[in-house]
């Protein structure tokens, strides 16, 4: 604090250049102070996300079973059939488009084209808001319809081949090792489960009784159990943290768009550098999604 007040007062030693230095007048890597610090902030944020995603991988490797993404993420608005991974693909495209409109806004900024900057930033904000809406749908489906929470994961996979049992003990459909099922929960109680048959259609089954026909428990009856609960916690925590980045990005994009529309950055005559900085942040949000998409939905 003391130093900066000295530099601003042009002290007796003639250090008048300090002011310029601290204002980013000297650019050590030909990047302004703000841009350089945005890069280093994004680097640190990349480590945070990497830590979360590596934790996902480590926990997944430590579990005997793990939910299958194409079974868990198969909902699509207004569609009752299973459309595995289609909705998240749509979400990915929304983010790609908003990244592209952001690049256009930065380019128009370099040309000092105020109308262009505001137009392309508006499209970017709409893209970000659309993504958040999609995420709200995805979360609502998982929480309300499928009863997943941070401490409960109804998506399981069988540890061995076997057969589902009806209430009277007779045998129903067979299943194979690694087949997926979703426990149906009503008023806090597990009442049955759903699985996909060979044609990919969802089948409901009353009760959770089953008998294994392979593995060390062959011949024994058991109940279908909850999947590893770390899955629910990791899903909501990591996609939530990414969604929070999108949300704060939309807020800052809106503020900077309004400032640009008001002529604030035009007056600065620095090629709309603020738009460039929020652009870096926004592309980073898209970049993180590339890896969230990879880890949660593809692998």
């Amino acid at each position: 604090m003391a130093e900066s007040s000295v530099s601003h007062s042009h002290d007796a030693h003639g250090h008048t250049d300090d002011t310029k230095l601290w204002d980013g007048g000297a650019e050590p890597m030909k990047a302004s102070y703000g841009k350089l610090m945005m890069w280093y902030f994004l680097l640190s944020d990349a480590f945070t996300f990497a830590g979360f995603l590596i934790a996902y991988g480590a926990l997944r490797f430590s579990m005997p079973t793990w939910p299958e993404p194409d079974f868990v993420f198969a909902s699509f608005p207004f569609v009752h059939a299973h459309w595995p991974l289609i909705f998240v693909t749509f979400m990915t495209f929304v983010l790609i488009f908003s990244s592209v409109t952001m690049v256009r806004a930065v380019q128009e900024g370099h040309r000092e084209n105020q109308r262009g900057v505001v137009f392309w930033m508006l499209l970017t904000v709409i893209g970000g808001a659309t993504f958040l809406g999609c995420q709200a749908y995805e979360w609502t489906t998982l929480i309300v319809k499928e009863n997943m929470s941070v401490s409960r994961n109804p998506f399981g996979r069988h540890i061995a081949d076997g057969v589902y049992l009806n209430a009277d003990g007779s045998e129903s459909a067979t299943f194979k090792k690694n087949d997926s099922y979703l426990l149906h929960i009503h008023d806090g109680k597990v009442e049955g489960l759903a699985y996909n048959n060979a044609d990919g259609h969802s089948v409901n089954h009353e009760g959770t009784a089953l008998r294994y026909t392979s593995g060390p428990n062959a011949g024994r009856t058991a109940e279908a159990e909850f999947g590893p609960k770390a899955f629910g916690a990791l899903f909501f925590f990591i996609t939530g943290f990414h969604g929070f980045h999108v949300f704060s990005g939309v807020l800052f994009l809106t503020i900077i768009m309004l400032n640009a529309a008001g002529g604030l950055y035009a007056a600065r005559r620095n090629g709309y550098e603020m738009v460039e900085k929020i652009g870096l942040y926004w592309h980073f949000v898209d970049l993180v999604w590339v890896f969230v998409f990879l880890v949660f939905y593809l692998l």
Binding site: T92, V103, R104, H283, D286
Partner: protein, 145 residues
């Protein structure tokens, strides 16, 4: 800065980026649906070599998308070398983080049965004799006056 390119070239690059990222994403999802057995009945890559090939492809595509976003959308290709290295080199630390933590997770999973057995073993086996590695001071840890 993108000052190396003309305005028209810049716009072309944006269009190219949109096509490239979109195409890679569509190819990724098609391969994923094929590998998980949703496209062709009875065909999947869930086991063995096919599964490893599938995972390598997905990781490769994602890394390429990340490269394109960083170098062209975020203009890293037009920054000075020092800035590029100071941002990208530290991420190589993650290589070790991935190896170490996945190894740890795998070892935990492999020893799950052993851990369960030890937890269920009679209590006398768990606390046989004095605790080792430290000495309890006479009168306990908290000195009473």
């Amino acid at each position: 800065m993108a000052g190396h390119l003309s305005y028209d070239d810049q716009k072309k690059l944006v269009f190219k980026g949109l096509m490239l990222l979109g195409a890679i994403t569509i190819v990724e999802v098609i391969i994923a649906l094929l590998a998980k057995g949703h496209l062709i009945h009875g065909v999947d890559f869930k086991h063995g070599f096919g599964h490893y090939l599938y995972m390598a492809l997905m990781i490769g595509f994602s890394l390429y998308k990340a490269y394109f976003i960083i170098f062209y959308f975020m203009h890293m290709a037009y920054e000075v070398r020092g800035l590029m290295l100071s941002v990208l080199l530290p991420t190589s630390l993650l290589v070790w983080a991935i190896i170490a933590f996945f190894q740890e997770g795998g070892a935990w999973g492999a020893r799950r049965e052993q851990i369960k057995e030890m937890n269920e073993a009679p209590a006398s086996n768990q606390s046989s004799g004095k605790p080792t590695g430290y000495v309890v001071p006479a009168g306990g840890w908290i000195s009473r006056s």
